[in-house]
């Protein structure tokens, strides 16, 4: 997918002015957060399970070489094929080669963020293959020719009226007078349309939430059942997964599953957790004849052993963006690539470069909500700070910011001067603002006062007040 992350500021400005996006965000920020809270409260072991999930992922990552090799052995043992893909291009090529070999005309897909990451749909379509997204949200954005705006709810930015308009425009063979005003109507229509696609498909492509080294199994977690129809009806099932998805055994996956749905949608467990191991067995009455796993690196191996290793624990639940005030304000598309919100602000610069995605780790207030809800306790703010440091070191930070930081650093190293200057500044502002109590605009701070007023200071700095209070305390003792 072509990134527009370098345009984050313009993207965000547009999103803030878009009433549809704002209405959708207002709805999602209460929905997801409330449900997660209720699910967490209902399970007394939830916090301990988060620790356990973090530890399992840490162990898996620390031994990733071992578990990947053992996973591959098991897949082969069960008659499946593993294709290693160092880059997005390698992954696209491997998938197209399989599709061509089996002469595929139609491919159905379950939701996969990795597929978005490698821009698979365009690649297959250019080769003349019809690609059908089957997750309802993905289907909607495929019709709208848009990227997903959320990793688990790709069409969260679209209103039901917009979906209705898209369905009327695309499904012209259906009666024009049909009712499509309610979500139920829309879900039923998508169900009816996609049903035939499943049956027509030659290849089904899904992602994977986990790969199990013990058994060579891939796991998908869904609610709609589309992933299951995608992978059980066509002749060929292709799984695309990134290398950090591997965990040792079924018990480990179970522990992480206990925090996944609760963190994501607030469900106790998603409707369908499906474990797939190899192709259909000779005695099986249905299922795919071929089973392929594409193992994608695309920059992840170089995150291992770096200050970004913890990011590889991510299980893609979306809780960080569901709780992010910046995401709530600007929506997922503003981030400009596949992964929005706090996890995207850390991951995207790793995958497509900080030159392109440098705005993202800066689009945070460091309020810490993301880290506080992350089921595998990824220190997201700390890692965004790492990116800011790297940007500064590599002179990618804008001149005005560097200049400002330079001045601040100069003063911060000279406490006496710092205190005198801030005391003077606060004193002057206090006198100037005494009458109105606030400033509507200030020189050098126009960007800040454009959106809010600055309350006038009371005439003393924090350090002065602190010193005064310490003095009174010591005298009253």
């Amino acid at each position: 997918m072509q990134s527009t992350s370098h345009n984050f500021k313009d993207n965000a400005r547009r999103a803030i002015a878009d009433p549809n996006i704002q209405a959708a965000m207002a709805k999602m920020k209460v929905g997801f957060t409330g449900k997660r809270l209720a699910a967490a409260a209902r399970l007394p072991e939830f916090e301990a399970l988060r620790d356990a999930a973090r530890d399992i992922k840490n162990h898996s990552l620390a031994n990733l070489d071992f578990y990947l090799e053992r996973y591959e052995d098991k897949v082969k043992e069960t008659g499946g094929h593993v294709h290693w893909a160092p880059t997005a291009e390698d992954a696209r090529k491997a998938i197209l080669d399989i599709c061509r070999r089996v002469d595929a005309k139609t491919v159905t897909k379950g939701k996969s963020m990795i597929s978005e990451e490698i821009a698979l749909n365009d690649h297959l379509e250019q080769a003349g293959i019809k690609v059908v997204e089957t997750d309802l949200g993905e289907y909607i954005i495929q019709l709208r020719k848009e990227p997903p705006s959320h990793i688990i709810a790709p069409a969260v930015h679209v209103s039901k009226e917009q979906v209705e308009a898209d369905f009327r425009a695309q499904h012209q063979h259906l009666p024009a007078g049909r009712s499509l005003s309610e979500p139920t109507d829309l879900v039923n229509e998508a169900r009816q349309i996609l049903r035939q696609r499943y049956l027509d498909a030659d290849v089904g492509i899904t992602g994977a939430n986990f790969l199990i080294a013990e058994t060579g199994t891939s796991i998908i977690v869904t609610n709609e059942g589309n992933g299951d129809l995608t992978q059980s009806l066509p002749r060929v099932h292709i799984v695309i997964a990134s290398i950090e998805k591997v965990v040792p055994n079924l018990e480990d996956a179970s522990t992480i599953l206990r925090v996944l749905a609760r963190s994501a949608t607030g469900q106790e467990f998603s409707a369908y957790t499906t474990l797939s191991t190899g192709p259909r067995r000779p005695e099986d009455p249905d299922g795919p004849e071929e089973y392929h796993v594409i193992l994608l690196d695309n920059g992840r191996s170089s995150m291992l052993g770096s200050e970004f290793q913890d990011m590889l624990r991510c299980i893609r639940c979306g809780a960080c963006m569901n709780h992010c005030p910046v995401y709530h304000a600007v929506g997922g598309h503003s981030y400009g690539w596949v992964y929005p919100g706090p996890m995207g602000s850390v991951l995207t610069p790793n995958l497509i470069g900080v030159e392109e995605a440098g705005h993202l780790p800066n689009a945070s207030t460091f309020c810490g909500r993301c880290e506080s809800v992350c089921p595998v306790r990824i220190p997201l703010p700390k890692m965004m700070r790492h990116w800011r440091e790297r940007e500064f070191e590599r002179h990618l930070t804008p001149k005005s910011v560097r200049g400002g930081l330079g001045i601040w650093a100069f003063l911060a190293r000279r406490p006496a001067l710092y205190q005198r200057l801030t005391g003077l500044g606060i004193g002057v502002l206090g006198i100037l603002g005494r009458r109105r109590g606030r400033f509507k605009s200030l020189p050098f701070a126009g960007g800040w006062t454009k959106y809010r007023d600055l309350p006038a200071p009371q005439g003393k700095t924090f350090q002065q007040l602190w010193a005064k209070q310490q003095k009174t305390r010591s005298t009253t003792k």
């Binding site: 390698d90 299951d228 059980s232 067995r281």
Partner: protein
Amino acid sequence: MTSAREQILGAVKQSLKRNGPNATNLETCEQRLSDPEAGLIPERSRLPHPAQIDLMEAMLIELSATVQRVSSDNQVPDAVVDYLKTRNLPQEIRLAPSMDLLDLPWDGHSLLKTSSGPAREPDQVSVTGAFAGVAETGTLMLHSGPEGPTTLNFLPENHIVVLRTSQVVGAYEEGWARLRKVFGNGVMPRTVNMISGPSRTGDIEQKIELGAHGPRRLHVIVIEDGDSAA
């Protein structure tokens, strides 16, 4: 030229600054594969077996599934026919090709049409067995095999699952333990489906709708065949 495989594994090893696990590490990792240990299991499902069955039922109902208990295998056809009637569904079912189901007294219902095998597109009602029921979250475990075509669990709009109380366990881990007993350590059938309620989506304005692509309705007939037979 190095292969893509060597390239990735080489990069992983370089980042981990090692050439594979050391001896102690290797032992830990090997053990994790050959002898998996359960982690933290929530207290919720650690109950006497009858209470686990009650929990299973309560969780299923919370998930918008429906549950009916019967006291013997022979009552299953009556329960199925009742279900079809009250939902105004056609008297036609697609059965999983398992002896347990095929041997039931279906012929007591002359209007009921039965056939068995993988699901086909017009099939509206499937009836399958289950491998286990996990009380913790009301999750049904089904697996593929000669007696369990996977398509029956997803293609028809109505899925009726026949579950025995002896198949009800507390936690997922107990389900894996039973699966290993049947298939062997480290061996899995092609597909294991963990099903928690009917198909659903919240993709349009986060309003939960049932029956997105998989079954709109999930009905569980519980045969009370006594205690855990594990």
